[in-house]
């Protein structure tokens, strides 16, 4: 997008930005042409004493083509935009490249919990690394994320990745990304979720494989420790109202 303030940090970010500029060029030209015509007509046909208006019905062929030709062009440009938009969409949402790592992203009022599979690379084992409001991923690896919500709708938004997906209680959504650029980025909740919506952010750390391994090593025992001391995951008891925990409905 505006690259100085919003870097491209995932494989599909370039495609999204390319689509942005394609649409900007197309509609920008139309917009400027239409406004220029509009203001020129306003100036050209301003009221002048002794000059009456013309009687034009809009059925005159030589005038009507000024409407019909641009109108046909609009339709053609629409098709260009639709094709480009769907290409980007299919890449982000409709394909699922094979995963190197699968992580779980849990949302709840008003925190993100991330589960990394840990050294064994398998989720739901004692060496999982669970972190709150901080996600560490390795650059260049394809990640699948299993997105869930415990209570209301949230939306997993990583602006630097150009990735957004709503989290729906009772469902597990599987999406993917592949980070391309190390750094610290924001994770936002983009769907209003109650009083704490404005504080529901998290930090995304994209790092190289060595740094990630070191981070895993540092936290590998946390999960095992947590599993030993608290039998149930610590945060399920937090919401009393509809506390019949949904079966994590099968992934799709």
């Amino acid at each position: 997008m505006l690259d100085h303030s919003m870097p491209q940090a995932a494989t599909f970010a370039g495609g999204v930005d390319g689509l942005f500029w394609l649409i900007t060029w197309i509609v920008g030209l139309w917009f400027i042409a239409a406004e220029a015509m509009f203001f020129w007509l306003m100036w050209r046909f301003r009221r002048k004493p002794g000059v009456p208006a013309q009687y034009v019905t809009g059925k005159e062929k030589h005038l009507k083509r000024w409407i019909n030709i641009p109108h046909g062009l609009v339709l053609i440009f629409d098709v260009v935009i639709i094709v480009a938009a769907i290409r980007v969409w299919v890449e982000i949402k409709q394909t699922l490249p094979p995963a190197d790592v699968t992580i779980r992203v849990n949302s709840q009022q008003w925190a993100w919990t991330f589960t990394d599979p840990g050294p064994d690379g398998v989720l739901d084992t004692p060496d999982d690394v669970r972190t709150t409001d901080e996600l560490h991923v390795t650059v260049g690896k394809t990640y699948h994320f299993l997105l869930e919500s415990k209570d209301v709708l949230h939306s997993f938004f990583v602006p630097a990745f150009r990735l957004k997906q709503d989290a729906i209680p009772g469902r597990t959504y599987t999406g993917w990304f592949k980070a391309t650029r190390p750094g610290n980025y924001d994770i936002q909740c983009a769907e209003i979720c109650g009083l704490g919506h404005g504080v529901m952010g998290a930090k995304l750390v994209v790092e190289d494989a060595a740094a990630h391994a070191a981070w895993i090593q540092q936290h590998a025992n946390d999960g095992a420790l947590a599993a030993l001391t608290t039998p149930a995951p610590a945060d399920t008891a937090a919401k009393p109202a509809t506390a019949t925990p949904a079966p994590a409905a099968g992934t799709h």
Binding site: S5, E35, I67, H71, I82, V88, G170, L195
Partner: protein, 571 residues
Amino acid sequence: MAHATTHPVSAGGGAHGGAHHDEHWIKKYFWSTDHKIIAFQYIFTGMAMALIGAFMAYVFRMQLAFPGSSVPGWGFVSPGQYNALITNHGSIMIFWVAMPVLIAGFGNYLIPLMIGADDMVFPRINRLSYQLFLLSAIVLLASLFVPNGGFGGAWTAYPPLSANRVYSTTPYGSTMWVIAVALEFVAFLLGGINFIVTSMNSRAKGMRAFDVPIVVWTIVIASILFMASVGPLIAGAVMLIFDQTAGTSFFNPNRGGDPILWQHLFWFFGHPEVYVVLLPAMGIVAEVMCVFARKKLFAYQTVIYTIIGTGVLSFFVWAHHQFVAGIDPRMANVFTVTTVLVSVPIAEMCFVYIATLYGGSIQFSTPMLWALAFLAEFLIGGVTGIYLGASGLDVYFHDTYFVVAHFHYTFFPIAIIAVFSGITFWFPKMFGRMMNDTWGKVHFWGTIIPFNMIFIPLFILGMNGEHRRIFDYHNFPHLDTPYMQSLRITATIALVVMLAFQPIFLWNFIRSMFAGPVAGKNPWKANTFEWAADSPPPHGNFAEMPECHRGPYEYSVEGRTTDYWPQHEPA
């Protein structure tokens, strides 16, 4: 507003069958079945609600520009208050300002006058419609003062947040909000029935379908769109009320419900709703442009076909609000196609309006400035919609400030610019006196320039990834930069400037009502029927029921001494 106490034979259902001499003022202004009084009730209520909605915008914009400081006239803004303010600002501006003023207000005032009828077909239903609307406004405003505060789940009210008091923390505010919205829908259903039936059955002798002014067409088609789309949402609202209060689980995923269902019901209505308010605004602009360019509307029938085309297409685009909501990704492809194709009839309509200026003799009066500004600004709203309809890009832009800026560039021209155009244009007819044109222009520039200064920064904020409905951006490091904050402050200052210009309009309005120059029947030299009636028209509208002899836009016809040719004038 001196209403004459005699009127010709009434065809309007008999509700005002001659028994209105020396009415008590309460009966005349608060229990009236006269379509013009009901129109004023709607317009004035809508204007009052607009002031409330604008005040809300002032409070939350101040919080965004100067987070954590006390807002003059309000105090400190808590996160709960912030959510309630944005929620009710949106709800009020769409349901209690745009709808009552554009559809109900102008529809009630203009339809009988423009088709040459003495009143609506169902005057008592009309009265009931306003009364329900007033009740809905009172319920909404009351919901802000109940324990735990007003509803704060955004105007879209997505469950489970809106359905469950544990999540929303506003048990009373949520339910009252939904009740208010449902009541408001019922009010407009009653009004819409009236508009459709009246314009089908009560047209003056000689008035064929293609002699009807565009604004009547647009209001009637908008009413049909509304009636066809609102049913599912009323059902949804009832289900939501049950979920909130009776423990049902229509939208509760833990007990077999589906929160996405609400989104479909909401947006199946919500997107046609955009066109429900857009179309009457386009109609008002067409009337004003033709009069002040002294031009026949370019390709009148094409405009009507584009209105109908837009209306039909608007039923097939709703899921573009849900691209990233968890719907089947293949569905997004279909809705991208339909959404981007809406640009076809809308672009045609804009081209036709621009072409109407060709060969004109344009007078830049206040109503004309507003009408031209509508088109110039709405184009920005239109082209930025393409970005959001393109599914691949919406993944990024969804729920960012780009969306906020986009829809304000559509709704502000609709609900504010077109309304100012309509009010300044028909003011002489409504009150029999002219408004001050110089003050009108001061108010125009004082509104238009700040309007752009508010919303252009929001486009940039959205491109930089600023997400919506956040009361304080300190928690997001890349959004908390001095540059981003300076954009927020710019927008807020522009808003304050814009609001500071609004008392000029109110003063001009009230002063002109009592002390403006007397307007006469037809101050703008316009063609349509309402200008054949006295200003203001008496109860029953016309001293002699008009007959229609030609189309509504016969301006500057060659070989005539005057540059207009009223519809009621015999050949």
